[in-house]
Each structure stands twice: as structure tokens, then as C-alpha cells.
Amino acid sequence: MRILWSDRASWLKVGLVLTAVAGLCWEANRRLGPGYPSLGRIREYPEETQGQTAQIPPSVVREGGTDRFVLERDEVTLVVHARGRWNAGEIVAVRGRAEKGELIAEMVRPYPGYRWKRGLVYGFSLLAALFVAWRLLRRTDLARGIFESRY
């Protein structure tokens, strides 16, 4: 076990593990991507994604309407069929079934005030991350690139 943690050939060991991480990431994309198609994939590959369940994270309603709306994410739009009245500009998350290049919603969750709430959560998270980074960096020997506790 000692060889795993020693300084000897550390670049090789880290490189091998990073290769394994990259493999795991590719595997995640390969296995999970098709199972949970993105908004763009449903539009571009209607036959391939037919009947699959999609989970669309909070996205903006570009065109509102009754019992249907147009959802936009990463500059790709998709027609979603969902009961009720939907207004342009709303932020909603959707889970539904792909059907002929459109989405039949099983659940739509509106997010009022999404932008400012998300902005604050991210802002304070960034501050927390910077705080931890600062505490760690002041104990780091930057020349050697390692963390050295003084205890």
C-alpha cells in the first residue's frame, strides 16, 4: 500500500488516476446521456429519444401559452406540453417523456425568484470556497506545491 502514497513516480500515479477519472467521465456520458436526453437531443433525434424520460433543470419559458410552452436552455428551444397557463419569462424545471421531438410533461416545477435566489446561494458558496482556499493556501509551500501543516 505504501507505494500508492509515496513520492516516488507520483506524476505517473496521478496521471494514471486522472486517466481513470477521464474514463469514468466518458462512461457517465455514454451510459447516462442517452438515458436522460437533453433538450437539444430530444429535438435533434426525435426517433432515438422517443419515449425516454427527460429531466430538464430550471430553464426559461421563452413562449408562454395554455397547456403548452416553449422552453429554452443553452439557446436550444423545445415545445413542452403541460396543463395550465404558462407565462413567458418564467423559470421552470420539467420532468417528462419525449414524444416526436417534443416533451409531454409529467411534472413541472416553477421557480419564482430563481435568478436572485440562485445568485445569492452561488455568491455565498463562492465566498465559503475562497475562505477555505485562503486558509489552506497560507499553510501551503507554493514552491513545493504541497500543503504543510505547522502542527
Partner: protein, 154 residues
């Protein structure tokens, strides 16, 4: 994601009795999943599900191994374990969210299991209402630690 202030708090409380370098690794470990995940997803704009392993038990063991090389050789095995356990604690906290199964942490057993699971107790955006409580708790805890001389965790 739950906010990192809450994640920091969940790490600081149980880590308080650990030795200081291990505390540092544990606190860093609890931050690791979101830092790696957001780096891949938001900064590097990687493909659709590339960021998922940053919130999985196996993925964190690998990321933690890489991160452990930032520690001195004598501390590395303990640092790796603390980084990994911190990451697992992060996943556990994230599992209480209700994201309709879309969060990376819902796939925490990938590649062994690909069915999403989460307890679904609160919507992640509602962290905005618990954030002031988390901030006050962190401030109170750090003030208490300072009076006892335990405020240095790194």
C-alpha cells in the same frame, strides 16, 4: 447543490476532534465535489454528464487520491481517507434535496447503479432560506472554537 456554507458547517462540526492536517483534508473534501463539478460543468463546459463522477463514491475516491498529493507524504493515506469521507458527507447532505432525480449526487453509486435516488426533502433553491441560519451557525461555531483555542483547523 446545497450551499457551500452549509457543507462547510457539516464538515467543521464532526472534524473538530481530528488532528489538524486531517481536519483540513476533511474540510477540503466536503468542498471537493462542487468545486470539481462546477469546474467541469460551468467553466470547461464539458459534455452532458461528464460532471457526474464528481458526486459519486467511486469518483470521489479517485479525485481524492489526486488531491491527496497536495499533502506531505507521511499524511497522504489519512488525507486521502479524510478527503473521500468529506466528499461522501457532501453527497449525503445533497441526497436530502429534491431535484426530481436530476442532481449528480442522485447517481452516487455510479457506475454500479444508474437509477437516481434522493430523499427529496427540500428544493435546492430553498437553501436561500437556510443560508442565514448556516451563516449564523458558522459564526457561532468559529467564535466558540476561538475561545477554546480550536479555531485553527488547517
Amino acid at each position: 447543490m446545497a450551499d457551500l456554507v452549509t457543507h462547510y458547517l457539516t464538515a467543521r462540526l464532526p472534524a473538530a476532534r481530528l488532528s489538524r492536517p486531517v481536519q483540513a483534508a476533511f474540510v477540503a473534501g466536503v468542498m471537493l465535489p462542487d468545486l470539481v463539478g462546477k469546474l467541469l460543468e460551468v467553466v470547461l463546459h464539458t459534455a452532458n454528464r461528464f460532471y457526474v463522477p464528481s458526486h459519486t463514491v467511486l469518483g470521489l475516491a479517485l479525485y481524492g487520491y489526486v488531491a491527496s498529493f497536495a499533502f506531505e507524504e507521511r499524511l497522504r493515506p489519512k488525507a486521502w481517507l479524510a478527503l473521500w469521507l468529506g466528499g461522501c458527507l457532501h453527497i449525503l447532505v445533497d441526497l436530502f434535496k429534491d431535484t426530481m432525480g436530476s442532481a449528480s449526487s442522485a447517481l452516487f453509486l455510479f457506475p454500479l447503479a444508474v437509477e437516481p435516488f434522493e430523499f427529496g426533502l427540500y428544493d435546492p433553491i430553498h437553501a436561500i432560506w437556510t443560508l442565514p441560519i448556516a451563516l449564523a451557525s458558522v459564526a457561532a461555531w468559529e467564535a466558540l472554537a476561538r475561545t477554546k483555542g480550536n479555531h485553527v483547523w488547517e
